[in-house]
Point group: C2
Chain length 291, copies 2
């Protein structure tokens, strides 16, 4: 099948490569062409802009940076939708605003174009190993049609409901992580200050009722003072901002998420934006240390 792929960053590159390996013809565009080099070498056809991708293919995937990039790429005057004829399908895999996903779906529907929101979780490793979780919002028949393509990229693939619910599910995921990370860093900092070995503490508390992926993976990294990014703080701050904005729109107060967001903004202020989310530990450390 001819598929379009816009956004060949660390995630998009691996995901698109799985589709190429599965036998699909990929037409790709990225703001920085160099980041598409691997894909072109693997047989992808370079396009000079989103419009070209949209006109040459039937199913167009996007995974770009921020909601404004999604909006410009898909809804902009030279974007994907403006160059889509009836019957095509747009699949946005960026973590973006649920409300924007609803708008894309509505604008697309008005032109006879289908749209899904399908953000992922699982990080660069999940993208490389095709083990991503893919959370999809949209119509069942469109989902069923795109499913074989999703299956080349991910492992847990679920239609959550109508347009926007893929994004809402991703927001739920990030809200859950935010609270958990506060627990992780406060627990480990307390342990450290009580004079205990962090790995020994994780050995004991990581497998019971306090256990989580975060304590057993990011907690271990904190114990080793490894703050390299699995998931960048600057991206997590983007996601929490979207979740808070959506919650505000729902008249929903989420004080824990708000607190986590503030401390991650503090992490940005301290210059940690390109460290991994576990560097929240350094914020709490700084906050509790004499100058």
């Amino acid at each position: 099948m001819k598929i379009g792929w816009i956004g060949t960053g660390v995630m998009g590159r691996s995901m698109c490569l799985h589709l190429i390996k599965a036998g699909h013809e990929a037409y790709v565009y990225n703001r920085t062409k160099e980041k598409a080099a691997d894909l072109i070498e693997a047989g992808a056809v370079w396009c000079d802009n989103p419009a070209e991708v949209a006109s040459k293919t039937d199913t167009i995937f996007t995974i770009v940076g921020y909601p404004k990039d999604v909006e410009e790429t898909i809804l902009g005057p030279n974007g994907v939708l403006a160059n889509c004829s009836e019957g095509k399908t747009i699949v946005d895999m960026t973590t973006s605003k649920p409300q924007l996903a609803e708008k894309i779906h509505a604008d697309a529907a008005a032109k006879g174009v289908d749209a899904l929101d399908a953000p992922v979780s699982g990080g660069d490793l999940g993208a490389r190993n095709a083990s991503l979780a893919i959370m999809v919002g949209g119509e069942k028949e469109v989902f069923d049609r795109v499913l074989p393509l999703f299956e080349a990229m991910g492992k847990t693939i679920q239609l959550m409901g109508g347009p926007g619910t893929g994004q809402h599910t991703k927001m739920s995921n990030q809200i859950l992580i935010a609270g958990t990370m506060i627990g992780v860093v406060e627990s480990l900092l307390y342990s450290y200050r009580a004079g205990m070995d962090l790995d020994e503490v994780i050995d004991v508390i990581g497998s019971g009722a306090a256990g989580s992926w975060s304590i057993n993976n990011l907690g271990r990294r904190i114990a080793q003072k490894d703050f390299d990014p699995g998931f960048f703080i600057k991206h997590f701050v983007k996601d929490m901002g979207i979740a808070l904005e959506e919650a505000r729109r729902m008249n929903l107060a989420l004080p824990g998420l708000s607190l986590a967001n503030q401390f991650y903004i503090s992490a940005m202020a301290m210059g940690y934006e390109n460290l991994g989310t576990q560097a929240l530990y350094k914020v709490f450390e700084n906050m509790n240390t004499q100058n």
Copy 2:
């Protein structure tokens, strides 16, 4: 071996029974005698007070309610230590103050008596199945001597360091749970308000980087509107109070724990003290609902 057991509540009863089944002679005391009936039927010898337990046995376990109960039971004028001769061992398994554990250890040492702090996690189910995690503070040789008894009650048994570190580890465990629970209830409330099925959301987000024991067990209960206690809110509030007091003593600010503590106090105010910790969801629900 003759062992003493003080505190035959839901946890202590199961734990002591494992020791009896392992062939030990148990001498038991509890404030409410009826709660020791099962143990007496299983062969335990009833004692009328902690002093009698201490004088008749060599290793005395305590698992009572609050730090003030620990203090009275062990350090009170008619308590365990006052009736211990040299060479005996006191093992407090109550979740209690690290500082109190240090004091018990010091006062005991002055009389030639050994002491360990050994709080547990794993709940009533872990106590019944002898699968508790036991977090121990004290001296290595004392730990090694008591280890076979711990092994009859638990699965993960770890000496964390000197006196008080068992309690500190338990506090780290509770701090970790506090943050995680905030994430769980905010994530699920957001999902609910976005119109999604909570079990479907947990299916997707519970197995990846956002996954935790709490979302996969307590989150499932929330989805079923099951707020029955696995772990009582009133006990969790006790534990968080201890953790905050210890953190204050260390000059350690833990804003996430403090926030969780406030919302659990709100749960108490709403009359949920005898519900499970997952009833925090109801607090956030109430807080976000029109009257």
